[in-house]
C-alpha cells in the first residue's frame, strides 16, 4: 500500500447490532463484539477494512450480529470518537434523559 493511500484513509471501526438483543456493538479483538467503543479494533487501511468486513459478514451468517458497517472515527485521549452525530448518539445512547441512555441501563 502506498504512503499516499494511508494518509487519506479515514480511521474506522466496524459496528453492528446484536441479533438477539439488538444492542449496539463494535468489533473488537479476536473477532469478538464489544458494547464499548473504546474496545473497538481500529482500522487504519483498506486491507484491514476488507478483512474485518469479511469477518463481520461471517458473524451475520452465523447469527451473531445484524447489519454491520464501518464508521469513521477520530482517535482522541478517550479512544475512538465517531465523526458523525448519528454514530455519537449510537455510541452513547439517546440524549433525551440521562436515565434513558445505554450506559444507565446495562444489558442484563
Amino acid at each position: 500500500m502506498s504512503k499516499k493511500t494511508e494518509q487519506i484513509f479515514d480511521t474506522k471501526v466496524v459496528t453492528a447490532n446484536m441479533l438477539l438483543g439488538g444492542n449496539v456493538v463494535y468489533m473488537a479483538t479476536g473477532s469478538s463484539w464489544d458494547e464499548k467503543l473504546a474496545n473497538a479494533l481500529i482500522i487504519k487501511n483498506d486491507d484491514a477494512l476488507t478483512r474485518l468486513n469479511k469477518v463481520a459478514q461471517e458473524a451475520v451468517t452465523s447469527g451473531i450480529v445484524v447489519g454491520p458497517y464501518a464508521i469513521a472515527v477520530k482517535i482522541g485521549f478517550a479512544g475512538p470518537q465517531p465523526l458523525s452525530k448519528r454514530e455519537q448518539i449510537r455510541a452513547t445512547g439517546p440524549t433525551i434523559r440521562a436515565d434513558y441512555s445505554e450506559q444507565a441501563v446495562p444489558n442484563v
Partner: protein
Amino acid sequence: MYRYDEFDHTIVQERVDQFRDQVSRRVSGELTEEEFRPLRLMNGLYLQLHAYMLRVAIPYGTLSSKQIRMLAHIARRYDRGYGHFTTRQNIQYNWPKLEDVPDLLADLASVEMHAIQTSGNCIRNVTADAYAGVADDELEDSRIYAEIIRQWSTLHPEFSFLPRKFKIAVSGAPTDRAAVRFHDIGLQMRQNIRGEVGFEVLVGGGQGRTPIIAETIRDFLPKQDLLSYLEAILRVYNMLGRRDNIYKARIKILVKETGRDKFAALVEEEWNRIRGGALDLHKDEINRIRSYFAPPLYELTPEPDTDYQIARRADRDFDRWCASNVVSNKQPGYGIVNISLKPAGMAPGDATADQMDVLADLAETYSFDELRVTHKQNIVLGHVRLVGLHALWQQLDAAGLATANIGLASDIIACPGLDYCNLANARSIPVAQRISERFANPDQLARIGALRINISGCINACGHHHVGDIGILGVDRRGEEFYQITLGGDPTENVAIGEVIGPAFSYDDVVDAVETIIATYETIRTIDETFAQTWRRVGVTPFKEKLYGPARH
C-alpha cells in the same frame, strides 16, 4: 369498545405462534437475515439505532383500562419502563429484545392487541377523530367505520404487497381533528341533500418528502358502498402505482401523475364492476359494529355542577387546566378531558409504566373504562363528569400528568428523531424539550394562545412539520444537525402546507429562532387573530426580517 370475535382471536394467536417459530428458526440459522427481516417487519419489529423497536397497533387510538395496563406491564417487563405514543395513535417500545418479542406479543394478544400491519407496504392502522362519539359537532362516531375498515383491511390478501404503505383516516365531524386531507384516503362524513349520512372521499394526500393535499374524488358515497369503493381505489393503486421508485410509490404521486379526474374515472369504472356484491355493507352489519361503540350509561340528570364551578374559582391552576385541556362533551354535564403527555422538558408522547397504570385507574373511575390516544401524542378521557373533574385533576397532578397546555406552544408534536430513528438526520425530541422549557410559564403560554409546533427529524415527516403553524425539519449538513423552518401549515379543514422561511438554523440557534417567530407574531397580530390568520394576512416578510434582517435590494 370493539371486542374481538373468534376470528380475530384466531388470527392474532396464529401470528404469535408463527412469529415464535420464525424467531427460533432465525436464531438456529435456518432463516438468513434477508429471509427473516421482512417477516420481522410484518410483525411491527424494526431495528433502530440502539435496539429493536416494536410498534403496537392501537386501532383508531382507542384503549380499555385493561389494555393500557398491559401496555404498562410490557414497558416494565420487556422494555425500560416507558413507551412512546405516536402521531399514528400507536405506541412504540424502544428497547425490546428479539428473543423476548414472541412472549411480548403473546401478552399483547391476551388483551386483543397486536403489531400486525404496523409496518410494510400494506394498509396501516386506521386513524380517527380522537373525540369520536363525544364531540358535539359530529354526524356519527367515526370509529364505527374505522373498525369496519380495520376488519376489511386486516390481512387482506390482495393488498398485502401494495406499491407502498397506505394510511386511511376517518372524520365524523366537520371540524377535522384527524387530518383527513393528509392521508392516502381521507373519509369525511357528510350529509347529502336528502339528509343521509355518507362520506366525501379524498385521495392522495400525504406529507413526507412531497407534501400534497388530498383531492376529493367523490362528494358523497353512501355508507353501504364504503368497502367496495375503498376496494376499487386500492385496486387501481395496486395495478398502477409505481413500484420502480420508492419516492414515487405512494398513491399521491399516482393521483398527481394521472390527474384527479382520470383517477376518479378509473376508480368509478372498477367500482361499477364490483359494487353491489359481497362487499356491500348492510344496515344490520353497521348496527352490529355500532353497538360496540354505543354511548356509555351517562347520568341523564346530571348533578348541578356547582362544586366544579366553585373549584375553578378557588383553584387557579385547576381553572387554567380546565380552560386549556377540557372541552365540552355532547352529553350535558360531561367533558372531554385531554391529558397532556408534554410536560415542560420531557419527551413528547412518552409515558412511563406507572403513568400508564394511573391512566388505566383514572379511566376506570372517571371515564367508563375507555381512553384514546390522539395523533397529537396526548391521551383523551372522553366521558368525564364535570362534578368529578377536580378530583381527577388532583390525581393527574400527583402523577405528573396535569400539564395545562393542550393546543398551546408547548404541546409539540415530535417524532423520535436521531435519538432513536435509523432514518433520522437530526434530533427532534431535545429540540421539543428545549422549546417546552423556554415556554413553560403558564401565563406566557396563555398569552401566546393556540399554536402548533411540529418537529420531524427527517423528510419522512412523521412529526407532521408540514402542517405546523411552525414546522421544524431536521436536515443533515456534513454530519451536523440543522433545522429548516416552515410557517403556515394547517392540518384541519382550512388545510395548508407550510412554506420554508429561509436558510436552516443550527441545533443551538433553532430555539431562539422559534422564540423570534412567536414574538413577531405576538407583536403583529390583531386581537384574537390565530397564527394562521396572521400568517395569511401578512405573509412571510415580517417573520423573515426578524429572523434574517431586512432584505437587501
